[in-house]
Subunit: 155 residues, 2 copies
C-alpha cells in the first residue's frame, strides 16, 4: 500500500475521504465541494498537510502544525485518520501513522498529538500501540481535550 503526501491537486481526493468519514460517523459535513475549496486554500500554506494511502486513495491522515514555546520545532496535530470500511484491518492506519512519525521526525517535529474519544477503545489502543500516551495513561493522570466553539463549522 503506497503512502504519499497529498499535493494541492489532491484536494478533491482528500475532501471526498473527509466527507465520507463524517458521513459514516453521522457528523455534519459541508460536502466535498466546500471541503475541496477549503483544502485548496489551506494545503499551499504548509501548515495543513495530508497523507494518502493507496492509488486510488483509500485512506487519509489530515494534520495541522503549530508552534510550541517548550520545543525547538513544530507540533503536529493529527486532526483526522480515516480508512474506508472495506480496506480496514489491513494495517493501512498503521502504515499512515508510521510514515507520519518517520517523516515528522526527519522534519524536526517535536511532538505529534491526537485527540481520541474516551469511548473509542480501539482507537485508544491503536495510538497507545504507536507510542502515544495521555499522561501516563493511568486513570486520573490522563488529560482531557476541551473546546469551546465560537463559530459554527462550514456547511
Amino acid at each position: 500500500m503506497s503512502v504519499r503526501w497529498a499535493q494541492v491537486s489532491d484536494a478533491p481526493v482528500v475532501a471526498r475521504l473527509l466527507h465520507d468519514f463524517n458521513t459514516e460517523f453521522d457528523t455534519p459535513s459541508p460536502g466535498p465541494a466546500v471541503l475541496t475549496a477549503r483544502l485548496e486554500e489551506l494545503l499551499p500554506d504548509g501548515r495543513t498537510t495530508a497523507l494518502l494511502a493507496g492509488d486510488p486513495a483509500v485512506a487519509v491522515a489530515l494534520l495541522t502544525s503549530r508552534p510550541n514555546v517548550w520545543y525547538d520545532g513544530p507540533v503536529l496535530l493529527l486532526d483526522e485518520l480515516y480508512v474506508v470500511p472495506e480496506h480496514r484491518g489491513r494495517g493501512i492506519g498503521t502504515a499512515l501513522v508510521e510514515r507520519l512519525v518517520h517523516d515528522a521526525r526527519a522534519a524536526g517535529v517535536a511532538l505529534v498529538e491526537v485527540n481520541v474519544d474516551e469511548g473509542d477503545v480501539d482507537a485508544r489502543r491503536f495510538y497507545e500501540r504507536h507510542g502515544f500516551a495521555s499522561g501516563d495513561v493511568a486513570p486520573d493522570e490522563r488529560a482531557f481535550y476541551y473546546s469551546r466553539e465560537l463559530r459554527p463549522p462550514l456547511g
Copy 2:
C-alpha cells in the same frame, strides 16, 4: 486588573511567568533566558500570542493558532494559563479567559481548545464554567488528549 496582549518587548515577562509556572509544578523549564529567546522568535509571527494581567504582570495566558479544515477561521489552543500564587482566587483567570474569548470571537476564531489533566478537578470545573466541554462531558463521551514526543523539550 488590566489585561493586555503581550508585545514582543514583553517576552521576558511572559518567559518569567512560564518559568515560574513550570517550577511551581515540578515540570522542567529551560529557564527564563531560553524562553525569552524562544518567545522573541515566536511572538512576531502572530501564531503564538499571550495575554498578560496586571502591571507588573501577575498572570499569563499563552496561545497558539492553527488552521482547521472544518472551520472558516483559525483554532486557538490555550497552551498555558498561570496566575502567581499570591494573586489566586481574585478572578484573574476568569478575566484572562473572558478577554481571550471576547477578542478571539471578534477576530473570527472558530474554536478555542485546552487540554486539562483529568485529576485537576478545579481546572476542569473552571473551563466547564467558561463554556468549554470535552465531548458532552459525560463519562465515555469525553475526549482524551494523546501525544508522542519525537524530540526532547528545550533546556
